[in-house]
């Protein structure tokens, strides 16, 4: 009945989400929030995969999205473990304090 | 298109109404059964045998002062109960109660809607349920609440794994994710049910155990164990918010038991085909129930029974009569069988609650990962192997 949704709107949405994720990663100082912005970026990417899967009528896009999810899960697990240990040793979650790797 | 909306709305009202009353009276049934297990009468002051007790509770909870502690993270504190109850109720929408029926000229399924990935939908919703509890625990800014929240969410996540593996096993047999088709594959005799297919009773047992853990029921209800964590994650909650957590718990219980019935016990299908008289079973049961209550009413053990039992007896007999009407039979019979099976499993929940002691937390988690998960995995492998070999 109503007008159908043009594909590019999905892409624009994922572009917005992507840049929001990047912004989050750059401007936020709390490690967990930065980590979450990465998840946001990955979600944006997934959306693009699914959109193009729809455009090409192939299931490959879905599989890629699936694998992205799996990898994101693994990454989250290890990342959060690292954040735990960081917090245990440094008592802080502010990324700017953790710059001992400087030259 | 508009008829679809109207029908859906009607169905929603019917299901919602039925569900809310069942929730309330399930609470009553539970208190009654546990009472009788513990050889005490249970609630019988408010209305005959405490039948109006749920009503009283609801009124109590609604009218209680709805205080919000100042040190609480307001937004999440209020969102948590809402999240819990919505997730619990959402999964009911997918569960089929009966086959296609003809009502006033419109054909419709005794089911709100059917998704061809219904099982996944329910799994998803149940995994979202965790947030209600976790956020409740955290946002109430109370050590006990936090610990309770953490523990219960950890428990739910851990048991979600064996639950989904246990569900996967029968799916392999019936080879569909849509709940309606699931039931259709278990049509016919008793042994067509998934429970008796191959050795699915193992996955049935795993499913039930995981279901207990998922809904934080007795052996696994450590988080709100009174003696340890005061009231667990809903310590800081009062009145309606507290009520919603309870409703969420019971709704989850109903969902899980419906899932058990659909996956293993053949949903609304009668144990033996109607041709062999499965249609008369409900009539017989209600007739017998009616006679017993009337006889009980005539020579009462307690003097007030004389006034209360006979009306119940009459009601039972009327119901038996209704089941005899062929027109309604096509709708009522499947509904009866579905409710009977779900009732049986619910009774199992309540029965277990009344008898088993509580797990300690590390035992609980150890059991999940060291026992239940491996067994569920093996069971899934075995089922897959069996299907590959025999089919």
């Amino acid at each position: 009945m109503m007008g159908h949704v043009p594909l590019s709107w999905f892409l624009m949405l994922s572009a917005v989400l992507f840049s929001l994720g990047v912004a989050g990663f750059i401007f936020r100082r709390n490690i967990i929030t930065m980590f979450m912005s990465i998840e946001l970026i990955l979600n944006a990417v997934n959306l693009t995969f699914i959109t193009f899967a729809y455009q090409r009528q192939q299931v490959a896009g879905h599989l890629l999205a699936f694998f992205v999810m799996v990898v994101a899960a693994a990454e989250a697990a290890v990342g959060l473990a690292i954040i735990l240990t960081v917090f245990k040793n440094r008592e802080t979650l502010n990324i700017d304090d953790l710059d001992s790797m400087k030259n | 298109m508009d008829s679809f909306i109207v029908i859906s709305l009607i169905k929603i009202f019917v299901v919602f109404g039925a569900l809310m009353t069942i929730l309330a009276y399930l609470q009553w049934v539970e208190r009654k059964v546990i009472a009788h297990i513990q050889v005490r009468p249970g609630p019988y002051r408010v209305g005959p045998h405490g039948l109006l007790q749920p009503l009283a509770d609801v009124i109590k909870l609604i009218t209680k002062e709805d205080l919000v502690p100042p040190y609480v993270n307001k937004v999440l504190y209020l969102a948590a109960p809402f999240l819990a109850i919505t997730m619990a109720l959402l999964s009911i929408s997918v569960i089929p109660f009966g086959p296609k029926i003809q009502v006033a000229g419109y054909q419709t399924w005794m089911q709100l809607t059917d998704l061809n990935f219904g099982v996944l939908f329910i799994l998803g919703i149940s995994s979202m349920g965790v947030y209600g509890i976790a956020l409740a625990g955290w946002s109430s800014n109370n050590k006990y609440a936090l610990l309770g929240g953490l523990r219960s969410s950890a428990q739910m996540i851990s048991y979600e794994l064996p639950l989904s593996l246990a569900i996967a096993a029968p799916l392999l047999i019936s080879n569909t994710l849509s709940l309606r088709k699931l039931v259709e594959t278990q049509d016919g005799w008793l042994w067509n049910w998934n429970l008796f297919h191959g050795f699915q009773y193992v996955s049935f047992v795993i499913f039930i155990i995981a279901a207990f853990a998922e809904t934080n029921r007795v052996p696994f209800d450590l988080p709100e164990a009174e003696n340890e964590l005061v009231a667990g994650f809903h310590t800081e909650y009062s009145s309606m918010k507290f009520a919603s957590f309870f409703m969420a718990e019971y709704a989850n219980m109903i969902t899980v038991s419906c899932m058990a019935v659909l996956l293993f016990l053949g949903g609304w299908v009668a144990p033996w085909p109607a041709a062999y008289g499965s249609g008369y079973v409900p009539v017989v049961i209600f007739a017998v129930a009616g006679v017993i209550t009337i006889w009980r009413g005539l020579n009462p053990r307690r003097k007030r029974d004389r006034y209360t039992f006979p009306p119940f007896g009459v009601v039972f007999l009327i119901v038996a009569a209704v089941f005899l009407v062929p027109l309604l039979q096509s709708a009522l019979l499947p509904l009866f069988w579905f409710c009977a099976k779900t009732g049986a499993i619910l009774f199992l929940f309540i029965w277990i609650r009344g008898t088993l002691p509580r797990f300690r937390y590390d035992q609980l988690m150890g059991f999940a990962w060291k026992v239940l998960f491996p067994v569920a995995m093996l069971n899934l492998l075995a089922t897959g192997l069996a299907i590959a070999v025999f089919s």
């Binding site: 990047v22 990663f25 750059i26 401007f27 100082r29 930065m34 990324i95 700017d96 953790l98 710059d99 001992s100 790797m101 400087k102 030259n103 | -």
Partner: protein, 615 residues
């Protein structure tokens, strides 16, 4: 006929003396050294008589020395009449000088080393003469250069000697440079080095190329035979012992250039321009060397310049096409110049090392034999009628007259000058009062005998051995009529020179000083050898050394190479320094950089799409 035995004998002498000489007594060293050379001389006589008329070249091939692709060079020796003459001169004069050297070197240190070097020299000279192709000739050519360096620098403790040795070797090498270029051209053009093969194809080759080859060969000869541009090393070579000067810098080595030019007469006859070049260089060298010789006070320097001048004469002979006349003068010159040097050696020996003529005088009574011998030599070189010098010099002057009259008159004038400075030296040494402090004593017989023989040869040698007739089959005939007029004029010039010398140094000893003081500028110019050494030093050595230090070493090596290497290192450090700043340790900065990189990549793609129309 075992031609190879001729060079191998001196080589054996060299090896024995060289390796075991230290432990031999003087007598034993003499036995090996002189024995090997004399045996070689006897073997030469035997082979020449054995070969008979020798109208055609007799070649012997021993082994293929170089075989690489188109180039195949055999170690071959060949003998024809020209080689015969050279063999006789080299081995004959060589033996005499070896004998003389016994006496002369008796009191010097390194006795066995001297004779070993002399034998090595004889081996290389004989190889050069016997060579049947340019490459083996070049081996000999280099070998003699080496031995001249070793022998000049014999008194290695004196700096003058070693410097002179270096100078000689380097100047020779410059000459050899031209020689090698010529050889390359020959190979490129004719595809082989063998004389027979090259001279057979030479007439067909383009004249321009032949001229170029001729000039380059001439350049090599100038280096070796001390002609105009490259003669500077010969006067300094006198720093070596006198027998060396006699053998190498008078009789044999310096004549190698003339022999090589004569040997390649086919190339020159087909390249007239090259012939003229040789003639002009020859006459110029003769004239210039003679003028310098006038004003020298060191007796050996006088004879050194006279050698350069006489070589100039030989080249004039070759340049005018009279190859046989050139070789004829070569032989006679070998006789009297060796004698002159050995005589001077005897004089120096008797004065125990004194070489400055102003410290001599009146030795006529004290060393009468040397006086007699020196008289014969001086007469021969001055071209006194019927002496050997007279016949050979006239042959050349006749050819020069036939070629170009002015050439003849310059030649005659130079002949006059030659006579004058030889007799000037003669009179200053033997006439007047003795001005030195030493007690002159006569040389021992072992030195006098070779002198006497050489004196005999220089008087009658020219008449005895008629080289032009002997070499008729080898060279093209020269139709120079036996005109009496020019000969008379030449000999008259010679006598005039002698008379003048007698007048100025015996009759009126004051005249030379007055002339010297009169023409002050000219005298100093001539005395200082026209400052040629200084000019060369300034023009060539200084810029070369300075240039290589400033440009090559400082500029190129240090500046460019080290510069780039260190530069790159510094640049890398610089860039590293800059990049280091990016490692701020701040994760958010890194993230920004990553995002920035991403944006660039996407922008690149977008640009590509917009510009390239990529889908």
């Amino acid at each position: 006929m075992q031609l190879w035995l001729i060079p191998i004998l001196p080589l054996a002498g060299f090896l024995i003396n060289g390796l075991f000489g230290r432990r031999f007594s003087k007598g034993l060293v003499n036995a090996f050294a002189i024995g090997s050379v004399v045996l070689a001389f006897l073997w030469v006589l035997k082979t020449l008589f054995g070969l008979g008329g020798l109208t055609a070249a007799y070649t012997e091939h021993y082994f293929t020395w170089i075989q690489s692709g188109a180039l195949s060079v055999g170690c071959d020796f060949s003998v024809d009449r020209l080689t015969a003459v050279m063999l006789l001169v080299v081995t004959g004069i060589g033996s005499l000088i070896h004998i003389y050297a016994i006496g002369y070197m008796a009191h010097e240190g390194g006795y066995y080393r001297f004779f070993a070097y002399l034998n090595l020299f004889m081996f290389f000279m004989l190889t050069l003469v016997l060579a049947a192709n340019y490459l083996v000739l070049f081996v000999g050519w280099e070998g003699v250069g080496l031995c001249s360096y070793l022998l000049i620098g014999f008194y290695f403790d004196k700096k003058i000697a070693t410097d002179a040795g270096n100078k000689a070797f380097i100047v020779n090498r410059i000459g050899d440079f031209g020689f090698s270029l010529a050889m390359f051209l020959i190979f490129r053009q004719f595809g082989s080095f063998d004389f027979a093969h090259v001279f057979a194809q030479a007439p067909a080759a383009p004249v321009g190329l032949l001229t170029l080859i001729g000039i380059l060969l001439m350049f090599g000869a100038c280096g070796k035979s001390a002609q105009i541009p490259l003669y500077v090393w010969l006067p300094d070579a006198m720093a070596g012992p006198t027998p060396v000067s006699a053998l190498i810098h008078a009789a044999t080595m310096v004549t190698a250039g003339v022999y090589m030019t004569a040997r390649s007469w086919v190339i020159y006859t087909h390249a007239p321009i090259a012939m003229d070049v040789i003639a002009y260089i020859g006459i110029a060298t003769a004239f210039v060397a003679a003028t310098i010789g006038l004003a020298q006070n060191d007796i050996k320097k006088v004879f050194a310049y006279s050698t350069v001048s006489q070589l100039g004469y030989m080249f004039v002979g070759v340049g005018c096409g009279a190859f046989s006349a050139g070789i004829y003068h070569l032989m006679t010159h070998a006789f009297f110049k060796a004698l002159l040097f050995l005589g001077a050696g005897a004089v120096i020996h008797s004065l125990s090392g004194e070489q400055d003529m102003r410290q001599m005088g009146g030795l006529r009574a004290k060393i009468p034999w040397t006086f007699g011998v020196m008289l014969c030599a001086s007469l021969a070189i001055a071209g006194f009628p019927f002496t050997s010098g007279f016949f050979s010099k006239d042959a050349i002057l006749l050819a020069a007259d036939h070629r170009a009259p002015w050439l003849y008159w310059v030649g005659v004038f130079t002949a006059g000058m030659t006579a004058f400075y030889v007799f000037r030296a003669f009179f200053m040494t033997f006439f007047g009062k003795y001005r030195g402090k030493e007690h002159p004593h006569e040389s021992p017989p072992v030195m006098l005998i070779p002198l006497v023989i050489l004196a005999g040869l220089s008087l009658v040698g020219g008449y005895l051995f008629k080289i032009p007739d002997f070499l008729r089959p080898v060279f093209p005939a020269v139709e120079a009529p036996e005109a009496f007029g020019p000969m008379a004029v030449a000999s008259a010039a010679g006598l005039l020179g002698i008379a003048l010398a007698y007048l100025m140094y015996v009759y009126r000893p004051g005249i030379p000083d007055s002339i010297a003081s009169g023409a002050k500028g000219l005298y100093t110019l001539v005395y200082n050898k026209y400052f040629v050494d200084e000019i060369y030093d300034a023009a060539v050595v200084k810029p070369l050394v300075g240039g290589s230090r400033v440009v090559l070493w400082k500029g190129f090596d240090a500046g460019l190479i080290d510069g780039t290497v260190n530069g790159i290192g510094a640049r890398a450090k610089g860039i590293g320094g800059v990049l280091r700043l990016a490692q701020s340790g701040n994760t958010r900065s890194y993230a920004t950089w990553i995002a920035f990189g991403g944006v660039l990549v996407i922008f690149g793609m977008a640009a590509m799409i917009v510009l390239g129309g990529l889908r």
